[in-house]
Symmetry: C2
Subunit: 329 residues, 2 copies
Amino acid sequence: MASVKSVAELAGVGIGTVSRVINNHPAVKPETRDRVLEAIRALNYTPNEVARNFKMQKSMMVALLLPAVNHPFFAELAYYIEDELDQQNYKLILCNSKGKPQKELYYFDVLNKNKVAGIIAITYNNVDQSVTGDIPVITIDRHISHEIACVTSDNFNGGRVAFNELLKAGVKHPAFLGYTRDPFINTANSEVELRKEGYLGEAQSRQIKCPNLEIPDIEGDLGERILKLFETGALNEIDGIFINGDVFASRFIKVATQRGIRVPEDLKVIGYDGLAKSSWDQSQLSSIQQPLEDMARTAVRLLLKAVDGGPVVQTTHRLPIKFLKGQTT
Amino acid sequence: MASVKSVAELAGVGIGTVSRVINNHPAVKPETRDRVLEAIRALNYTPNEVARNFKMQKSMMVALLLPAVNHPFFAELAYYIEDELDQQNYKLILCNSKGKPQKELYYFDVLNKNKVAGIIAITYNNVDQSVTGDIPVITIDRHISHEIACVTSDNFNGGRVAFNELLKAGVKHPAFLGYTRDPFINTANSEVELRKEGYLGEAQSRQIKCPNLEIPDIEGDLGERILKLFETGALNEIDGIFINGDVFASRFIKVATQRGIRVPEDLKVIGYDGLAKSSWDQSQLSSIQQPLEDMARTAVRLLLKAVDGGPVVQTTHRLPIKFLKGQTT
């Protein structure tokens, strides 16, 4: 089948000129237009160009790549991202990567090929090579490269606030609970790690002992892994704990309660996310509240600015957090 | 700008022939092709046709129209629908209608214009007029017309099972709690209503008094409306209740607990959905479990059969439910 290149060669013009003729661009001389149309006719050229040119038109689709939309945190983000996109006449393509590296890479590949207008990515693996620069990308909670803007909450300060709120509530023996990361992943780029650093940093500066009780983020029953933590005695002395994520914290409280530990009387708990206002949470968890709606709308606005050819904003947008007092502190 | 019609008139051919020339169809005589290409050139015709023809190609996009993806039930459905679509090489466009009629109609309009391959619709209002027949549609939990297949769970049986499980747990004074529907909406088409009918029907056949405590599904604090129910004394005699939806049931339990009512000792509660296995629920709710994953994958498979030109399946696919015993009965 004839290619745009062969049409350009036969007409003695550049590929751009062929494209302009097909798109009926005014800045083409009538003689040139005639030569190109003759070459098109001579080579029986059209269908691929039809598709290619349509693709060159502005796509009104934005893709959201996240681990799983059935996690409450991502469901809230997806809801507000779609709402903001719709207000700007864009449609949302939803992609669940399940947090798996090969699935994240696969989706980047598919989205690059399908020429979406832009991508909002919440990735947990090294996808740097997949960001080609052809399509604007905004990340949430993770840095891919210096050229990609990242929207996140003030994670470091969130960790600090959590520590001080536990102290205020009378905690003497605090601990941290989160997921350890795969050693093959460059965790330096994860904003989420900053919560731990802010929390443990505050403990250190106040010279308060504060064990880090991280467990691996593997498949299987989280409840059982939390139970093991109790059984090893790691929590014996602990009277207050900051847990990296509200869903994680709720599971922790459930296991603790089943072991007869009273929350907050015996053990005070602060989560991170602030999902208590969503339809999801019934547990009245004390938590560091991220401005989820604001994060979602900011990510969309930054992305669409880049889509419209605006300058690439190479910064990290850290939106302020606040402490949401529930019934677990 | 020149239209395909004016090109056809100038060339003295039908619109279909113009289309075939543009698409390089082999069944066009060289003389006819020349006449059409000359007319195209004379009228400076192309861009619209470029777009139109591209749209005629098979779209690999399927839209999911639901009230809000940040509701746990819809989040679970969306997750599995996307997973199944991806396995079939389709992408998911997510649309949150917020359950508002004008938003549902708006999205149908947008999706019809954008020529998605198909639509999976979870609607709560009269959208019958928007289903044009051009694009295959599958509904979940609601009948739009006799020509649209509906995937749902066995709601009527679910209501019956809930009633009998409450009796088994020792309940003497059962009640039903759900949302009343807008009187302007044709509720006869809602599968969700069948849960109530199954439940109250079972009470009637056993000659057990069973009040229907429906409240309006309006915006605002659900907790306050539940609180009012308690304050009116409607629940004074009740020792067991079936609540239409797990999120609703969890909110109810929270209010009851705050009033010093012990669940399940004083009051037994069964919800509907079976979200207890999801990351959402920590409340160990007893519930009628819908086969959510199966419903999602079935909806996708039925839709893609229709997209591939298979016969329209005009049936209701009621997938079996089962009772999930938690800690609230």
